[in-house]
């Protein structure tokens, strides 16, 4: 359909460019006609000015003389150039063909023919979905608030994540804050709280957020999100060098590739550019797990699409872990993902694999064991 319309438009363009062919043989307006026409009018204008009493007779005569002299000059110098009224068709056809060729050529790399136009009025279903999620979030919030025990921490975390995804960062901050006040608050609770605070403030890392980030680091020194936002805080305080150091130091701590590294490296390189330092190469393997772009894409998706997307992401991760069973962080992420998908058995299995890999004394071990316990005795 759309290509049909383009074809019609292109033919119209072609026809317009070819149109002069029809006018071949027509006599053009020549200087020798056009200029004297103006001068003749000027002569007549002098007569009219005389009649209006605006110029005196001698003035008028002098002006007439001048115009006549100009007219003689024009006629003397008039186009001696011979004019062909028919030739040059080859070039015209070539030019006409160029029009659609260039337009399609440009469009084929810059156009987006598959993207539909969607009027706001036609998106009522989507808005209904959004409203439904908002309602569900509202219900969840009311239930948590009504709970005499203050509601389970996981519930508050879910609520915070939902609000964050809906872009209601103030609500998200409230939910995460409640969760962070609990004894079972983990490092991620604090870093999510900080992230929500930062986004609620249009990207500014506020002092409160810094406190939360430091708390997250105390609980888990390896929390990449906490280190990342602290680096942003450094940069916002004008200490771009420190920010860059923080990111590169954290990157150096973890060998191999982790998905969070893409964002790290992109940000570090942005800092490096300001500082005039050398950029870092990406560590992402060629067939990589979801990139920052994928994640961004997921955020833009509708709920249904997002579920499918998360499912495919999780499947990809699970397949990769079959080949690389020693990846602790991978198992932890997989476990977390299954948790989100409400597949509790699989989540527990993944936690068990991670637990087996974690050395005694690792700060995360306690957290993992707690999760396993929660999953086994819901």
């Amino acid at each position: 359909m759309i290509w049909g319309i383009f074809a019609i438009m292109a033919i119209a363009g072609l026809t317009i460019a070819l149109f002069p062919m029809r006018r071949a043989g027509m006599a053009p307006v020549l200087r020798a006609d056009a200029v004297p026409a103006v001068l003749v009018d000027q002569l007549e204008e002098i007569d009219r000015d005389m009649a209006r009493g605006l110029v005196s007779a001698p003035e008028a005569e002098a002006a007439r003389q001048e115009i006549r002299r100009r007219m003689a000059q024009v006629l003397r110098r008039a186009d001696r150039q011979t004019v062909t009224t028919t030739g040059g068709r080859g070039a015209l056809i070539l030019a006409a063909v160029f029009v659609p060729v260039m337009a399609f050529g440009y469009y084929s790399f810059a156009g987006a023919p598959d993207v539909p136009a969607v009027a706001f009025a036609d998106r009522a279903d989507e808005r209904a979905d959004t409203r439904r999620i908002a309602d569900l979030a509202g219900q969840l919030r009311e239930r948590l608030r009504a709970d005499p025990d203050g509601g389970p921490t996981d519930g508050w975390m879910l609520l915070g994540q939902t609000y964050a995804r809906m872009g209601q960062f103030d609500e998200a901050v409230t939910a995460f804050r409640t969760a962070s006040g609990r004894d079972d608050a983990v490092s991620a609770t604090w870093s999510m709280l900080a992230e929500a605070m930062i986004r609620a403030n249009d990207g500014t890392v506020t002092p409160d957020a810094v406190t939360a980030l430091n708390r997250a680091l105390t609980l888990d020194l390896s929390n990449p999100a906490a280190a990342f936002y602290l680096a942003i805080a450094d940069a916002q305080a004008g200490e771009v060098g420190a920010a860059h150091d923080r990111l590169t130091a954290r990157l150096a701590e973890t060998p191999g590739y982790q998905p969070w590294m893409d964002t790290y490296i992109a940000q570090a390189n942005a800092f490096a550019q300001t500082l005039g330092r050398a950029p870092i190469a990406s560590r992402a393997p060629v067939a990589r797990s979801p990139s920052a772009a994928d994640v961004a894409a997921a955020q833009e998706m509708s709920e249904g699409d997002r579920a499918v997307f998360i499912r495919s992401m999780v499947d990809r991760l699970a397949t990769r872990l079959e080949d690389e069973p020693d990846d602790v962080n991978g198992w932890l992420r997989l476990a977390n993902a299954y948790g989100v998908l409400q597949e509790m058995d699989k989540a527990r299995d993944a936690y068990l694999r991670a637990d087996a890999l974690l050395p005694e004394g690792d700060a995360r071990k306690a957290e993992v064991r707690a999760s396993i316990a929660r999953l086994e005795n819901p």
Binding site: I5, R23, P28, V99, V115, R127
Partner: protein
């Protein structure tokens, strides 16, 4: 699909522009009529395709199609329809699309209405116009695509800057651009004339309607912008010598000079290379304005560096068109034959003086606008050149200009009798002196310059009317005779009278509203009364009000004068939650004598919102409306001139030529 049609349409327009930039000009130099003729069809084609693209973008705004990034960034589903439409040209990309559309409209205008122009000249003009089109269409497509898509679409848009959600401002850019870009065709005529090596009376006449049309739009655009600043910004000022204003004012000054110098070229075959230079410079200043506004240079020299691609592209275009045309000028202009001679006291000399002063004034504004940017780029110091500089440098020049403007129209071509002229204006001079003294007696206390300016404005007004009266022998002959003479005068002559008088009226408005302005700023509580310029204003309080996409605090002010009730004013402070910003909507009671202008800014303290104190700003600006009325007269004068039959002369002789033969 519709955004994609718009996108494809732009690509077709670019392709046609490329053809138009090459073929017709080749045809003109080789004497090939078919190639020359191709300029007309491709110029028409361009306007169709760019128009289609513009319509596609506008439709995306109207239906809030958030798959178009430009709509996401500049609109919102809750925005009132008028401003959704205005959003089309509210952004960088959209305004450039409008730019290109107007470029195409002027090209098509010459193709359609220029039947009196020799084919070779027209072909060259349209080719040069197409060079500009190619530059800007490729800029649009390669760096600022208005049809960038997002999928899936975000839930809603980011709204348009609330300051811009205003009828005056919605209409302001199209008018301004019509003027700015309209001068492109004059530029094209100038470059074509340089290529052809011929400038004569006929050339000046062919260019005149386009110059006039562009000048009128620019005048209206600037006036509308100033009106908008007056009632929307909440300060009661109508001109701030802000760089954005200056860049539209410079082409206006230069264009005004061009308009006058082209008269000399038309009537006396003189000032040829000067007229060409003015045509080039006028459009160059329009381009410079576009560059400065669109590159982000204004915010800061560093903002430019954030998005260097766009800035550099326009800078390249700017260098190419200005540098290229000036180089061409330097090469070809010396070959132009000088025209008719004239004495130091003559209409020509008067117009020359007009040109010199206007050029110097443009230079002054240019300097004041660019100096801070240059300084920041070189030393990193940020300074701002504001009203004190411009008032000191610009105003005296304008006073001299106005002084001579009064006499100019009395002077005859070639050699004028200055004694006779002075005798005719003697009475006018006395009259305006008397009027000024009387004003001084009644309204003492303003700065001396204000009385001088009033005298100058009155001088211009009276002298202009006197000249008109002489022409139609008003009071020297029976009224019926005068009426007959008035009808017989060419419309362009009435146009001049109207425009000159319009300027006098504008100056009166400027002086009145700045030198005799009264202003009160006060913290007020409900029940407080303020006295200003003979008015008594009672602040009754503030109420909350809900608009379509904003919340407003609406103040309520009752106004009395000499004990009798005059009006109630409702100034507002609106906050737009989506765009997270606030605007002031001033309440104005307008009369010819002056405006009573009120705005509330913010609660004086936190408790204020609950019935406490507010900052209230009240101004009385005498004669301020004369500004817009005078601007209207300027535009009307231009329109009268444009409708003069002489501009349509020399139309097709084709009827008398052999009938066209079939192509095959």
């Amino acid at each position: 699909m519709i955004p994609e049609i718009g996108h494809f349409s732009l690509a077709l327009a670019l392709a046609l522009a490329i053809v138009q930039s090459v073929l017709p000009i080749l045809g003109a130099s080789r004497g090939n009529v078919v190639w020359m003729q191709s300029a007309q069809s491709s110029a028409m084609g361009q306007v169709v395709f760019v128009g289609l693209a513009f319509a596609a973008l506008m439709r995306s705004f109207v239906v809030s199609d958030f798959t178009v990034l430009n709509v996401v960034e500049n609109s919102h589903s809750l925005k009132p329809m008028l401003f959704k439409i205005a959003g089309t040209w509210g952004s960088h990309e959209g305004s450039l699309l409008l730019w290109v559309l107007i470029l195409a409209v002027f090209g098509a205008g010459v193709a359609l209405f220029g039947s009196n122009i020799p084919a070779a000249t027209k072909a060259r003009v349209l080719s040069v116009q197409a060079w500009i089109s190619v530059g800007f269409l490729s800029f649009l497509l390669f760096t600022s695509n208005p049809f960038e898509r997002v999928f899936p679409p975000p839930a809603n848009g980011n709204d348009l800057n609330p300051l811009l959600q205003d009828v005056g401002l919605a209409m302001h850019p199209p008018l301004l651009y019509f003027g700015y870009v309209g001068f492109s065709i004059v530029f094209s005529f100038a470059v074509a004339a340089l290529l052809e090596g011929r400038v004569d009376a006929a050339w000046a006449r062919w260019v005149r309607p386009w110059t006039l049309a562009a000048w009128m739009s620019l005048t209206a655009g600037i006036a509308l912008g100033s009106w908008w600043a007056y009632y929307e910004l909440g300060w009661g000022g109508w001109w701030f010598w802000d760089p954005v204003e200056n860049v539209s004012f410079m082409p206006w000054l230069m264009g005004t000079a061009l308009l006058h110098s082209a008269i000399v070229t038309e009537k006396r075959d003189a000032f040829k290379s000067w007229t060409i230079l003015l045509a080039i410079l006028t459009f160059s200043l329009s381009l410079l304005g576009t560059f400065i506004v669109r590159s982000g240079l204004l915010t800061s020299v560093h903002a430019f560096a954030v998005d260097p691609e766009r800035g550099l592209y326009i800078l390249g275009l700017l260098g190419l068109s200005i540098g290229g045309s000036l180089a061409l000028y330097a090469w070809r202009a010396p070959e132009m034959e000088g025209g008719g001679l004239f004495r130091p006291v003559s209409r020509e000399a008067g117009l020359l003086l007009n040109n010199l002063i206007l050029a110097a004034a443009t230079g002054t504004v240019l300097f004041g606008t660019l100096y801070p940017l240059l300084l920041e780029a070189l030393t990193g110091d940020k300074i701002s050149v504001g009203p004190p500089f411009f008032n000191a440098a610009f105003v005296p020049m304008m006073l001299v200009l106005v002084l001579f403007m009064g006499i100019g129209p009395f002077l005859s071509w070639k050699r004028a009798d200055i004694g006779g002229v002075l005798q005719r204006v003697r009475f006018v001079a006395l009259l305006c002196l008397a009027a000024t003294l009387m004003l001084w007696y009644v309204q003492t206390g303003a700065p001396v310059l204000a009385y001088v300016a009033v005298a100058a404005a009155l001088w211009l007004l009276f002298a202009t009317l006197r000249e008109w009266a002489l022409r139609i022998k008003l009071f020297d002959a029976p009224l019926s005779e005068s009426a007959r003479r008035a009808r017989a005068l060419p419309r362009a002559s009435h146009g001049m009278t109207l425009a000159h008088a319009g300027l006098a009226v504008v100056i009166l408005g400027m002086v009145g509203s700045s030198a005799w302005k009264s202003e009160e700023i006060a913290f007020v509580r409900p029940g407080d009364r303020i006295e200003i310029a003979g008015f008594e204003v009672l602040f009754e309080g503030v109420e909350k009000r809900r608009g379509p996409n904003y919340l407003a605090d609406q103040g309520r002010l009752k106004v009395w004068r000499n004990g009798s009730y005059v009006t109630t004013l409702f100034p507002e402070r609106r906050s737009y939650p989506v765009a997270r910003s606030t605007t002031t909507e001033s309440a104005i009671r307008s009369t010819l004598a002056g405006d009573l202008y009120a705005s509330i800014t913010e609660p004086a303290s936190d408790t204020a919102a609950k019935g406490g104190a507010w900052t209230l700003r009240i101004l009385y600006e005498p004669l301020v409306n004369l500004l817009w009325i005078g601007a209207g007269l300027l535009v009307l004068g231009g329109a009268l001139s444009l409708s003069d039959r002489r501009l349509r002369v020399g139309a097709p002789r084709r009827a008398r030529r052999p009938q066209p033969q079939p192509a095959e």
